[in-house]
Symmetry: C2
Amino acid sequence: MTKQEYNNQVNKALEYFKKANIVLTENEKNNVEVADFGLGKVNDIGLQLVVYINTDRVCAKEMVLLPYQTCAEHMHVPTNGQAGKEETFRCRYGKCYLYVSGEGNKEDIQGYIPPSDVSVFHEVVLNPGEQYTIMPETWHWFQAGPEGAVISEFSTRSTDETDVFTDKRLVRQTVIED
Amino acid sequence: MTKQEYNNQVNKALEYFKKANIVLTENEKNNVEVADFGLGKVNDIGLQLVVYINTDRVCAKEMVLLPYQTCAEHMHVPTNGQAGKEETFRCRYGKCYLYVSGEGNKEDIQGYIPPSDVSVFHEVVLNPGEQYTIMPETWHWFQAGPEGAVISEFSTRSTDETDVFTDKRLVRQTVIED
């Protein structure tokens, strides 16, 4: 992704934070993170976020999903002797479709086919003010509705580098080309 | 505190959540918690809050402080074999004056005299979008400015029942009279 594409995504995210009435400091605005998971189609598979805090014990983030943008199927595994990451998603704006392994149907859901062997997913629809907690080592993926979504995440420590993606092409680190 | 006084505080808190553009579910609105710390002067020493989540590992809350309302000096100690609570306060609306043991001055600060033997406090002023992390076993207290404050808290598990207040008259459980 080029520097200009990256900045475009950041600016889109800032518009959503504004719509959701999330107040950010100038420093946070200048450090919005864009994840394209290495696929080069960030508006399909991607995510924009601001990490508020990430200590050994606690993490809090604010995430933006553009319309129909998807965060691909993954799970959080034990890291550095601690249990995998536990996370609660709370929708602040728009609509978030969250799919968690469990009861449900693995058919093509809204254009994204989860690649794992998990046979069934449970759909959770999050409207503003609604939330859901995902326990460690649980396959999940999520997608915004037509208006996009702003989602707060409250969790244990984020260790993105050990996240397991089902699609092995995916990487968490975004590469910015000159 | 009477049921009517309790409901009045809840309604005031709901106005602040609205000002801060915090979207709550009907269930959350019906379960806003009011803490008067047993002193019967909730508008001076008190707090209103909604607990989003409180698992063994993670807690997230939204707190309202009315104008100049103070959450009295306390600390979080180890509980059930886990280290004391670590918490990050993020101001969403208004202004929060946070006092944390460390450098500073223990004089009468804005009408509240912290009762502990801690000789010095460090003042942290939080405007919307600003945050501060309080490590376990650290004396702290906080107060809203003239416009009140709405504050998000991201933390490890809340174990209010083991919080240590310097003023031993204080209790965390609010008693509602008929």
